[in-house]
Symmetry: C2
Subunit: 457 residues, 2 copies
């Protein structure tokens, strides 16, 4: 790190530059099990133009740039593995324009999903994508995030209309407009969505919004086995019922959530459902799903119709990772993340469970099962490296299994540092195309280097 | 065109190589107003591996490659502007695998949308994307096509899960799996969707399927003015009613369709609706939309509930371009294609109508108005170049207007030859990124050269 770069950044941003050890440490650590790696400098820009200048200065100094949102990534996405300048986007948290009549909104990248929904409260609209953490929209776009509502509303892939991004040479571009569809040229929007900051820094995002449904109803249903719960979910999806949410929690995870979030439920394999629509449609969906659940031995639906009860239920689901950690105080969590075609979900979960049961590890399981996506949350003793080795072994087996089932090594957490070796298996020759794109757009390899893949290898 | 390339292609494909004038002429012409440009050779591969070998041979000879599906493009996408080898994909028309339980299907690129839906008939599933023509899935992926169902089911962008493609150097890659979501690396699938054959030749496509709704109901409703019809559509969308289709036809287009497709309707501005869902949900949607329509002076809904009546109605809509041509025998059609945020649709249509009314041209107007997308179909005298100049002028004004409204120069037809000058206006600096991608993936500029943009300029 050259002194002149630091000097230039201070000239540009004044006190919005930090090299304080505690600030550096905070910005080198996410919520994952990966080793921490602090940056050399943290900057706090307040506009796209400032980000562009920062990037130009870093490019001149050939210094790595790591965009940072809420720091809640789960695969080491923000780790400064080659040092460099961390761009903390949280001061860029303005809602730029809510277009109620077009059901879209443009925000700065540092706006969080909860902040956005709070701001939307009086419009009758909402933004459905909800990873567990209160992530920023820029971070969510960069990791192609999803969450509990994806089964009905899609992921960031389907919901980002446009991004404003700073390229590796400091140019500021926009990738799209606000039209609902376009056949104009290459899909640059989707090139930045999921690129994990390796192709540029996203500074603004325009996303789709949805009308708050006339009726919303949530319910919890326990099952005699995890297989029964999964098969209930599979038939629900295959029957074309437009459920808004269908989430699986295994008995260990339920035990943790009941305690952590004070839920009035039994510690058995459980599905959390939510139905959106008109009063009649919600009633109809719920009745059909209740019939399906009963066929799989599901218990009575426990309804959460009041807003506060629903919020409590979904907050509990979003806090699953934090709840799991209470099962083993002092443990480090490692959340896996495969996604398979829905018809293979029961097999994939069953085989994975069998791996876990024959291991010595403590783990829970949660899943956005309507998407075929689930997570094993390993609770690892930081002082036992053999635990990490064992988790890696089971995780690798999960990934191989998922890919063999035509699935993917990551449904929503991204590649970061942890899934790089899986991409070869998943993409084969196509991976070289990704590398070519990276080299083209970032010839100096300064944009979040060491993430997704190592260039040149 | 070197003799040795022709010889090598004949060695590979035998009689599945043609240089017959009539075959060349057929493959140089689409359904657009653009000048025809026949290729030098047409080949008819029967496998992805054959396509890969063809591309390798063409790369060695530095000869252009033009993929060809149904020949129904509307911006000159298949025109062999630099000569070369046309790869006719229509013999690659196998349905490779229908996964009923996963609601997806993998097909060869030469399968047409009607063929696919015929094959799906006994599965209870359907593929919703329906451009007017019976296009191939490969062509539809390449132009990021949509159609009447996009308002409910999305476009090719949202519905392609995976493509198999041959790169410019002859390598065969797959871009994805069959999982509903993935955060693994760059989104190569969406890089090929909409690339118009300029980055590679798509040989297989995996797309999402949907359950045939329990209830389907279609209706036609006439309005006192085009503005009233558009505003009815806007409010329908803004109210969050999940209409499956909402199509606008102006009075001239209705006159043409009534004649061409024997419709029992009035030649007034008209919306065609379709509602999908359970019996109750369809009734509910229909009732709400009838109320909205009445508020805008809409007439009684004319219902088409029987399958044959609905098929007739939608065939009429799909035949709109052919119907329009009967209004002016001998004319050449030029279909424009802008798309704007829904709140700007009425303004965009009104200003465009005013341009047309003050011109000397004959034109009709149709639109996938639920998406904010509409087409003016100009009917031009092929012997009057001034007609084309005038159409170009009005088209350019439409595009400028749409982009100023945060819209796009093409909702679904693609760029091809006709919209290249619009991309500068729409993307600014971001266009250079598209050119960089093109140069990276096709350094010899042999993949459908001269489409989307001229490399180097």
């Amino acid at each position: 790190m050259s002194d002149s770069l630091l000097e230039a950044l201070i000239n540009l941003l004044g006190e919005r530059v930090s090299t304080a050890a505690v600030v550096l440490a905070y910005h080198g650590k996410d919520e994952s099990h990966h080793a921490t790696a602090p940056p050399d400098i943290v900057v706090f820009p307040e506009s796209s133009e400032e980000v562009a200048t920062i990037v130009r200065l870093c490019a001149e100094a050939q210094t790595p740039i790591i965009p940072f949102g809420a720091g809640t990534s789960l695969e080491g996405g923000i780790s400064a593995v080659h040092g460099g300048v961390c761009i903390d986007m949280t001061r860029m948290n303005r809602i730029i324009q809510i277009n109620v009549d077009d059901l879209d909104v443009t925000v700065e990248a540092g706006v969080t999903r909860k902040q956005l929904n709070t701001d939307l409260r009086d419009t009758g609209l909402f933004f459905p994508i909800d990873p567990g953490a209160d992530a920023t929209l820029g971070g969510m776009a960069s990791t192609r995030a999803s969450g509990t509502n994806a089964v009905r509303y899609g992921t960031m892939r389907e919901n980002v209309l446009n991004v404003k991004a700073v390229l590796a040479d400091g140019r500021l571009i926009q990738t799209g407009g606000r039209a609902r569809k376009s056949a104009a040229g290459y899909d640059l929007t989707r090139m930045f969505v999921g690129a994990e900051g390796t192709l540029g820094v996203i500074t603004e995002v325009t996303v789709r919004l949805y009308g708050v449904p006339e009726a919303i109803s949530a319910a919890v249903c326990g099952f005699p086995s995890i297989d029964a719960a999964v098969r209930c979910c599979m038939l629900t999806i295959q029957s074309g019922i437009p459920v808004a949410r269908v989430e699986l929690l295994d008995s260990a995870q339920m035990r943790a959530c009941i305690q952590y979030s004070d839920l009035d439920s039994e510690p058995v394999p459980t599905l959390f459902f939510e139905f959106h629509g008109s009063q009649a449609s919600v009633r109809e969906q719920a009745a059909t799903v209740q019939d399906i659940a009963a066929d799989f031995g599901g218990g009575d639906f426990q309804w959460a119709d009041r807003t506060e009860d629903r919020n409590k239920l979904w907050q509990a689901r979003h806090d699953a990772l934090y709840a799991a950690l209470t099962l083993k105080p002092g443990a480090r969590a490692w959340s896996t993340d495969v996604c398979v075609p829905i018809s293979r979900l029961a097999d994939c979960i069953e085989e994975t469970r069998s791996d876990i049961e024959t291991s010595s590890l403590t783990a829970t399981m949660v899943g956005h099962v309507g998407d075929g996506n689930f997570h094993v949350i390993f609770l690892l003793d930081p002082d036992r490296p053999q635990d990490f080795t064992e988790a890696q072994r089971i995780n690798d087996r999960m990934v191989t299994r998922a890919i063999a089932m035509d699935g993917t090594c990551t449904g929503e957490h991204g590649v970061g540092m942890g899934k790089q070796h899986c991409l070869v298996q998943e993409f084969g020759d196509a991976l070289s195309i990704m590398r070519d794109l990276k080299r083209t757009l970032d010839p100096l390899n300064i944009m979040n280097p060491g993430k997704i893949f190592t260039v040149g290898s």
